[in-house]
């Protein structure tokens, strides 16, 4: 039983004002119905302003990142239906801006822009128009996704690309997905109301299981639209009426055709960056993935790796850096780059221990003190002289202890370590000493 999945992904574009009016887009922070005007609430006589140029620019970047062929011109259409969150009784939605793209082995059928409707609560009837008119990009895939795992991977990569581009919003609710799933040879089911990328995986798993069960039990079923319940992780049937709308798409006479500037600059995308960094810095696939999980982190790595040992640096990034960021649930910040550079350098030169390194990093993240200042303050800076040289000296000066150690006497080793620690006034790292001794002896 082959599973066939297609996705329609709606993501809010990052703009200060709405698509066709100048109302603010900070709907999560604004007072109810504060970000409204006669245009986005469809008062008689209102007309759409000139389209928001930032929204178009941002949409083009996304289309380019998805390898779409970009059209030179788009027109807006009216999609007609009645619903409280749609003041005009129609939604303005564009014809495709980009077509024939690809991501994770899935063809992107098309990409277009449209207006976000407002928010209508089915239970209470409360309607808020702050969100109404915010620009959305819709990404439509061909039904080439093979299963929920594939969908997950696809959406994770998409999310990463969007994070790299910084042209879309990332707050909860800023992405919504409609999924289409069918078992080959059987009716297609549409699932609406998935309000997060994570929810898609749950919804698809549930639907696949549900449909396969119906087939095994020989229960017939027809094409329909189902509603995803985020809390329960299940889908329920919607009333038939909502599934058979004739939207009477017509070109919107109020919006003249919009010229699209195809040439746009986008940063190096996650996949090519991973592949390049793997080669360039001899990283493992896993390490490359971790380091490129955030563009700013990858940039920082490359800045520092220029004059630092890439391997050791990778260890630092995937180790204490990732740990501390995850623990706080925060993203990499550019302000950390000079501090990490300092830490990496001093670690390499054995001037600080790994333990101190972590403490210094924590201070840089939380307290904001520069690594160098904090290290000096806390007296974490190690011996000036080369510990290698010191160890060699100690070996030369204590031949008997070395002999005893070679014979297997634990006590002799401790004696040597103690001597070195005394010389370094306890600042040297025991593990490093041990390792170096073992190497030399």
């Amino acid at each position: 039983m082959k599973t066939i999945i297609g996705l329609e992904i709606h993501v809010q574009l990052r703009t200060e004002s709405k698509l066709f009016c100048n109302c603010k887009t900070n709907y999560l922070k604004a007072q109810t119905n504060e970000n409204t005007c006669v245009v986005c609430t469809a008062h008689p006589g209102s007309k759409p302003y000139f389209i928001n140029e930032k929204a178009i620019k941002n949409a083009v970047k996304i289309a380019a990142a998805l390898n779409c062929e970009i059209n030179e011109e788009i027109i807006m259409q009216r999609k007609h239906y009645f619903y409280p969150d749609l003041p005009n009784g129609f939604q303005r939605t564009s014809k495709p801006l980009g077509v024939n793209g690809t991501l994770e082995g899935v063809t992107i059928r098309e990409v277009h822009v449209e207006e976000d409707p407002g928010r209508y609560d089915l239970k209470t009837g409360k309607t808020d128009y702050n969100r109404c008119g915010i620009p959305l990009i819709e990404i439509v895939t061909e039904p080439e996704i093979k299963d929920s795992e594939h969908a997950k991977k696809f959406l994770e990569e998409l999310q990463l690309i969007l994070a790299y581009l910084e042209v879309s919003r990332e707050e909860p609710g800023s992405s919504r997905v409609d999924a289409n799933l069918s078992i080959e040879g059987h009716p297609r089911i549409e699932v609406k109301n998935i309000n997060s990328f994570k929810g898609v995986y749950t919804a698809l798993e549930y639907e696949e299981r549900r449909q396969k069960k119906l087939i095994q039990e020989n229960t017939p079923y027809g094409q329909e639209t189902r509603h995803f319940d985020e809390e329960k992780g299940t889908t329920t049937s919607m009333r038939k009426k909502e599934t058979l709308e004739d939207y009477r798409y017509s070109p919107d006479p109020d919006v003249p055709p919009i010229a699209i500037e195809k040439n746009t600059e986008i940063p190096e995308l996650p996949k090519p960056k991973r592949e390049r960094m793997e080669k360039q810095y001899a990283l493992t696939k896993e390490d490359a993935e971790t380091i490129t999980s955030e563009k700013k982190m990858a940039d920082a790595f490359e800045k520092i790796a220029g004059h630092s040992n890439a391997k050791e640096l990778a260890k630092l990034f995937k180790g204490i850096l990732k740990k501390q960021l995850n623990y706080r649930g925060i993203k990499y910040q550019e302000k950390l780059t000079p501090e990490i550079e300092w830490i990496a350098k001093n670690l390499e030169q054995n001037k600080i221990t790994e333990k101190s390194a972590e403490a210094i990093l924590i201070e840089a993240i939380d307290g904001g003190k520069s690594a160098e200042n904090y290290a000096k303050e806390q007296n974490l800076l190690g011996v000036e002289t080369n510990i290698q040289g010191l160890i060699e000296k100690t070996i030369k000066e204590n031949p008997k202890a070395v002999e005893d150690y070679k014979k297997g006497e634990e006590k002799a080793l401790n004696y040597l370590i103690g001597k070195i620690m005394k010389e370094t006034k306890g600042k040297a790292d025991k593990k490093t000493i041990l390792k170096t001794l073992e190497e030399k002896i």
């Binding site: 609430t41 009837g125 309607t127 004739d246 006479p253």
Partner: protein, 94 residues
């Protein structure tokens, strides 16, 4: 008879215009008269493209600069036919 009773029911549902039996009858007749009055247009063989934009041919694009229209949004909330805590109260669906 281009528009029959069933079609009339469908278009009045789609356009959210509830019609009484009498209105349905009158309007069905009216609509059919009108369409037949204009039906000559269907016979035309036209090879022209469809023209949609009579004014400006290419949209200007505006800068992304938000405005605060506090007074206007207050009036908009006041105009709601049913309101609670600044929300428009539409009928419930569940």
């Amino acid at each position: 008879m281009e528009i029959d009773k069933q079609t009339m029911k469908r278009i009045s549902e789609t356009s959210r215009i509830k019609l009484s039996e009498k209105e349905e009858e009158t309007l069905t007749k009216d609509l059919n008269n009108i369409l037949s009055f204009f039906s000559e247009i269907k016979k035309l063989e036209l090879d022209k493209g469809e023209e949609y934009y009579i004014g400006r041919k290419k949209s200007k694009q505006r800068k992304d600069e938000p405005e605060n229209r506090k007074e206007e949004s207050e009036e908009i909330v006041k105009a709601f036919n049913s309101e609670e805590d600044r929300y428009l109260l539409a009928p419930k669906s569940l």
